[in-house]
């Protein structure tokens, strides 16, 4: 078990979760955006609570991928359940750090947790196709696409339900997809697991 904790760099993952959730919860409502042609209303506004949890999900897949050596695949341990637990623990640590910050700021903590659940769920879901090595690109691409196409025209236009990473937590409909991803992703992660790389 000690070896497992070391190969998965649990300490560094916990550190990333703490730093990421602090930053994302406290700075979350700040956003960056893009100009549109000739001074019209800007587009592609991305709040930081959509971006900073990506750092956690990228760190998580990096450590999972680095530990996923051929020798690890041949152990008798319930490998998939252990990997799932590591991801779930990252989400849990983030939630434990973020949610108390609701006392300080109204927006940010809940969105951070929701987005991380969505991102990790998406990674779980796509790992059988992409492998641990490439799965981290999926949530980033998802945020990229929802930032550009997820809003009705105008910077503060309404956010589509599918573009949940950008939305404030005010409405329950933005929880539908991330929680679905979390549940379905868990099932996939616990049964199929990541693709093996051809040349490991």
């Amino acid at each position: 078990m000690t070896w497992w904790l070391r190969t998965h760099r649990v300490f560094w993952l916990a550190a990333a979760c703490v730093i990421g959730s602090l930053a994302s919860s406290l700075l979350g409502t700040a956003s960056f955006l893009f100009p549109s042609l000739e001074g019209g209303s800007p587009f592609g506004s991305v709040p930081l609570f959509a971006v900073l949890p990506l750092a956690i999900s990228i760190t998580l897949s990096t450590f999972l991928a680095e530990a996923d050596q051929p020798i690890y695949r041949s152990v008798a341990r319930a490998r998939l359940r252990y990997d799932w637990t590591l991801s779930a623990a990252a989400v849990a640590v983030t939630a434990v750090v973020s949610l108390p910050l609701l006392a300080l700021t109204l927006h940010g903590p809940v969105e951070t947790v929701r987005n991380l659940i969505g991102f990790v769920g998406l990674q779980w879901l796509l790992a059988p196709l992409l492998s641990y090595r490439y799965q981290a690109a999926a949530p980033v691409l998802y945020v990229f696409i929802s930032a550009v196409f997820g809003r009705a025209a105008g910077a503060q236009g309404t956010v589509g339900a599918w573009a949940w990473p950008l939305a404030p937590s005010s409405e329950a409909s933005f929880w539908i997809l991330p929680s679905l991803l979390g549940v379905v992703g868990s099932a996939v992660a616990l049964t199929r697991g990541p693709a093996a790389l051809r040349s490991a």
Binding site: P35, L37, G44, I58, T62, P139, V148
Partner: protein, 431 residues
């Protein structure tokens, strides 16, 4: 045999298809061409909007090449070729394909502009190339330095964040380093300020080379000072290009434009003389409509300045500045022409007179605009263009029931009253 275009072995070529689809989808759903069509400078600079797509491609494919070099242990094997050659072989597809995507974006924006006189300032595509090169270098460095699973997503994230973040910052010179702010250029009466393109060019080229220097093949070691040369030179170049770029962009505001050179105006010798930029009359001539509208007003005695120019600046007593863009409809031209009489300011907020007075002045201004539009559009369009000042419609109709002389008297007094605090605006008298 290796194909001439390495489709399968180089990621950039495969990424071209989603990137091109992205450009087309984005262009079709969000870009409004009316403000830029007909003016090559605006089309060229405006295509900066699409940089976030081409730079994403450059950065991601750079990261994939970098990850490949990392897996191949480029630092540890001996390579006899010069490092520039190694880099060129690795990175040319990324820069080339991202450039093609940017060119595609330009073609999308240019679809209504073919045939217009003039051209794109040459520095604009050069600056775009430099920006793409910088993003390729960043992606490559990330692919080389980060673990394989992190390289690609971080490259995509960083590329997008750098472009978006800099645009959200209110320190304007920083925006010009990223280059996206070029898209704020230009209406036809403005031209691109070359400080903007120059800043983007200097910074991105310098920083790109600097980042590549930092990925040099030899591991730096203190015991061998020669190996420290590349990292020190890289950091130095990065700092210098940032400082130079910021200095060049120092004079710029939120928009990279400056008033256009008036020497490019082409005046005719009619009465009044109408001066237009060559882009304005290559397809349909707004001068005909303007002359007719001016004649309509002069017939009832409204004084029209002897010189009418295409400009967004304020009108003066002897020059009427009409805001025009290429391919305007007659009704839009009449609207611009009529509102030009009320520049530079619609109304003055006179000190110490309170809200009611300002309201009366605003209503008078709205009435004047509606009245000018109706009178000047006679015989040109069947339906006068609708205004942004609907509250003036009813008083303007009231004014139209009077005799021409009475209308003119009311107009003369109230136009002066808008900005002269010693006069009081009046409502149109009932006949």
């Amino acid at each position: 045999m290796r194909p001439i275009i390495p489709w399968r072995s180089r990621s950039a070529f495969l990424l071209f298809f989603p990137a091109a689809a992205f450009v087309v989808l984005y262009g079709v759903s969000y870009v409004d061409l009316t403000t830029i069509s007909g003016y090559w400078t605006a089309v060229g600079a405006g295509s900066a909007i699409f940089l976030f797509i081409s730079c994403a491609l450059a950065s991601v494919s750079g990261a994939i090449e970098g990850a490949r070099a990392r897996r191949g242990k480029l630092r540890r094997i001996g390579v006899s070729r010069p490092y520039t050659h190694v880099l060129f072989v690795q990175l040319w597809p990324s820069v080339l394909v991202a450039g093609i995507v940017q060119g595609l974006a330009f073609l999308m924006l240019a679809q209504d502009t073919w045939g217009a006189p003039g051209g794109v300032p040459i520095l604009v595509p050069v600056a775009f190339a430099a920006i793409i090169f910088f993003h390729t270098a960043i992606g490559y460095a990330l692919g080389r330095l980060l673990p394989l699973p992190a390289g690609i997503p971080v490259a995509l994230l960083l590329s997008y964040s750098w472009l978006g973040f800099t645009w959200s910052v209110n320190y304007f010179p920083l925006r010009y380093l990223a280059g996206l702010a070029l898209s704020g250029c230009c209406r036809v009466d403005a031209q691109l300020d070359h400080h903007a393109t120059l800043a983007a060019l200097v910074f991105n080229l310098g920083a790109g080379i600097a980042v590549l220097l930092l990925t040099a093949m030899t591991l730096p070691r203190l015991t061998r000072p020669i190996t420290l040369l590349a990292p020190v030179a890289g950091v130095g170049l990065l700092a210098v290009s940032a400082v130079v770029g910021l200095t060049v962009a120092q004079s710029l505001g939120p928009y990279p434009s400056q008033p256009r050179d008036q020497a490019q105006l082409q005046c005719d010798d009619g009465q009044p003389s109408i001066c237009l930029y060559p882009e304005l009359d290559y397809r349909n001539d707004p001068a005909v409509t303007i002359r007719q509208a001016a004649a309509n007003l002069e017939n009832i005695g409204v004084p029209v300045p002897p010189r009418i120019i295409a400009s967004g600046q304020a009108s003066t007593p002897d020059t009427l500045s009409v805001a025009l863009r290429p391919m305007m409809s007659p009704s839009a031209i009449i609207y611009s022409f009529s509102t030009a009489f009320l520049q530079p300011r619609l109304v003055n907020n006179c000190p110490g007179t309170g809200n009611a007075d300002l309201k009366a002045r605003t209503l008078a201004a709205a009435t004047i605009i509606n009245w000018l539009i109706i009178r000047s559009s006679a015989g040109i369009v069947d339906q006068p263009p609708s205004t942004r000042y609907p509250e003036g419609a009813a008083p303007a109709q009231q004014l139209l029931t009077l005799s021409d002389a009475a209308q003119l008297d009311w107009y003369t007094h109230n136009l002066a009253a808008l900005t002269d605090c010693s006069l009081t605006p009046t409502s149109p008298p009932s006949s």
